[in-house]
């Protein structure tokens, strides 16, 4: 069974009057599903609706129509979700610095999530030990625990937000351009971590990105969005070897590679 499923999702940010005048939907009838142990990448140009789909999954956006199902049961806005569902779906955003409270230390940022979700807090050892391990997992020095976001680099902030998301032992991680702004050497470290977690913890990942090279490295399946609609969903191998839709072919043709430049 799917861990998360969206059915016939429709989101429109325009007023009702504008909608009657035919302003297009930001998301227009999108259906997709993520299995408990797979990485589904969503690709497409900016404005194609990728982030809006992710926000619906995370319960940060209410669709005009359609449903989001978690473990087969419909879930609504984040505030109305049972605590267990809220814990199980974690999101990592593109702009890391903006998603971390600048006045809190990294330690209190992570500890706060455990105060909210007691069930995920470490029971068998001290919180400090668990925080140190999480930071090491994302390639940070445990000493970072005492620092605040403004004194960290962009790449370090991004890893802190990934550590915070993982602290809750989620079943689904929604990554919206989570590695796009990182330098390549840091990027491969995070990708390794995510691939390892997926293999070891039954973590599903909804991975939104415009970097097709990264998609090819970590995705099991790929959904291609164009102007609010899904134009193609395929296994990663099929999509890159035998793109079915002309728009997919256009995206692949535009992508640059180091080789053959």
């Amino acid at each position: 069974m799917s861990l998360i499923e969206v059915r016939d999702l429709v989101v429109n940010f325009h007023s009702r009057r504008e909608r009657r005048r035919g302003r297009p939907n930001a998301v227009d009838g999108v259906s997709l599903a993520v299995r408990p142990d797979e990485t589904l990448a969503v690709v497409g140009e900016s404005g194609s609706g990728k982030t809006t789909v992710a926000r619906c999954v995370a319960g940060l956006q209410t669709p005009q129509a359609g449903t989001v199902l978690f473990d087969g049961a419909p879930v609504g806005r984040v505030a109305k979700r049972p605590p267990e569902v809220r814990r199980a779906i974690q999101m990592v955003f593109q702009d890391p610095a903006a998603s971390l409270n600048p006045r809190m230390t990294v330690r209190s940022i992570i500890a706060e999530t455990w105060r909210t979700h007691r069930s995920a807090a470490p029971a068998d050892r001290s919180w400090d030990d668990a925080i140190a391990e999480l930071l090491r997992d994302v390639g940070l020095d445990p000493g970072v625990a005492d620092r605040r976001a403004p004194s960290l680099s962009g790449g370090q902030c991004q890893r802190v937000s990934i550590a915070r998301a993982l602290a809750l032992r989620p079943r689904l991680l929604v990554c919206d351009e989570a590695v796009s702004a990182l330098d390549v050497s840091v990027q491969s470290q995070i990708l390794r971590l995510l691939a390892g977690l997926r293999a070891s913890r039954e973590l599903a990942i909804l991975f939104i990105t415009h970097d097709l090279g990264v998609v090819r490295q970590i995705a099991d399946r790929v959904a291609v969005m164009h102007q609010g609609r899904l134009v193609e969903t395929a296994t990663a191998d099929d999509l890159f070897e035998r793109p079915g839709h002309p728009y997919t072919r256009k995206l692949l043709d535009a992508a640059l590679d180091l080789e053959g430049a």
């Binding site: 900016s46 790449g155 330098d183 840091v186 491969s188 415009h210 992508a255 180091l258 080789e259 430049a261």
Partner: protein
């Protein structure tokens, strides 16, 4: 390098920091040849933007610059501010990463593109015509209507085109472009890169392109300059450096780039984090992360030396090229 348009020699930049000045660019030398694209590569904080900003003379207040930047027999470092202003936007123009913040939201695109022309005393009607021609050349559709629109009415890709038009208005000999396509979608990015290449060929101008995106570099840079923690690592022809890097750091960057047209495994990450110029490691700044490091790397700063024709590297134990 007899045809160097810009020759940077031993450039160092100190910025004021909470614990005293920080050397963010340290003893950097390279040349930008006329009519060619030189790519400045490096990770966040490596000093790329500071180097480009020094050329155009827009460093933050309190910055201390030493060394020389030779431009047509004159040293930009010691040149009087009024003479630098004369160059800025005319002989040397800059395109920024984020056209959103570089463009003024309250002025029409046309007004901003034509600013340098108006300041040069060109009559109003002529400016209008020239602006429309410029927008047309950079591929803004329907420039007769669109020159009167505001930045918010332009998409990200169109705004970047408008920025390019603004830079071209002064008929520059050198364009500095800082991450000009980083904020753009791949399809838009490909079109902007093609535009920059076309314009460079048509106008024969030189470009100093700053980017952390090696794929972009491989496609547009004739020469590349690789920096780490404010220092030079490697200089050479773009294609050669990116296909057979001589410096272990360049090599680590190259193998980290995921391919689209073939399936590659996720690269073995470098240990640790990029060094910050505020606490730059002793000797070779890359030594704490380098698999090839030996004792000498911790104590002695490797100097740039030639390893093959046109290729220089700062490493005690460079790769075979």
């Amino acid at each position: 390098m007899t045809d160097a348009l810009l020759q940077i020699e031993h450039l160092s930049i100190d910025l004021p920091g909470p614990a005293g000045p920080v050397r963010v660019v340290d003893d950097v030398s390279f040349a930008v040849a006329a009519g060619r694209t030189t790519g400045l590569i490096g990770e966040s904080g490596s000093g790329k933007t500071m180097t480009a900003t020094a050329v155009i003379g827009l460093l933050p207040a309190g910055a201390e610059v030493s060394g020389s930047m030779w431009w047509q027999g004159e040293d930009l470092v010691t040149m009087a501010e009024k003479d630098r202003r004369r160059l800025r936007g005319r002989a040397i123009a800059m395109i920024f990463q984020d056209p959103q913040s570089a463009l003024n939201p309250t002025q029409t695109i046309g007004r901003q593109v034509g600013e340098i022309l108006r300041r040069g005393g060109m009559p109003k009607q002529e400016v209008r015509q020239k602006v429309i021609d410029l927008l047309d050349r950079v591929g803004v559709p329907d420039p007769r209507t669109r020159h009167a629109q505001y930045p918010h009415q332009y998409s990200g890709g169109l705004r970047q085109r408008a920025m390019v038009a603004t830079a071209l208005a002064g008929s520059p000999q050198l364009i500095l472009a800082d991450e000009p396509t980083t904020a753009l979608d791949v399809t838009v990015q490909a079109r902007i890169l093609a535009l920059l290449r076309r314009i460079r060929e048509e106008e024969g101008m030189a470009m100093l392109l700053v980017s952390h995106d090696l794929r972009v570099m491989a496609h547009v840079a004739d020469e590349v300059v690789v920096m780490y923690a404010g220092r030079l690592c490697e200089i050479g022809p773009g294609r050669e450096v990116l296909s057979s890097p001589a410096h272990p750091y360049t090599r680590a960057l190259v193998v980290s780039v995921p391919a689209v047209r073939s399936r590659t495994a996720i690269a073995e990450p470098l240990p640790g984090s990029p060094a910050s110029p505020a606490d730059r490691p002793s000797g070779c700044p890359f030594h704490p992360r380098c698999a090839k490091a030996r004792a000498v790397c911790r104590t002695e700063v490797p100097q740039m030396r030639q390893v093959a024709p046109g290729r220089q590297v700062a490493c005690h134990f460079p790769e075979e090229t």
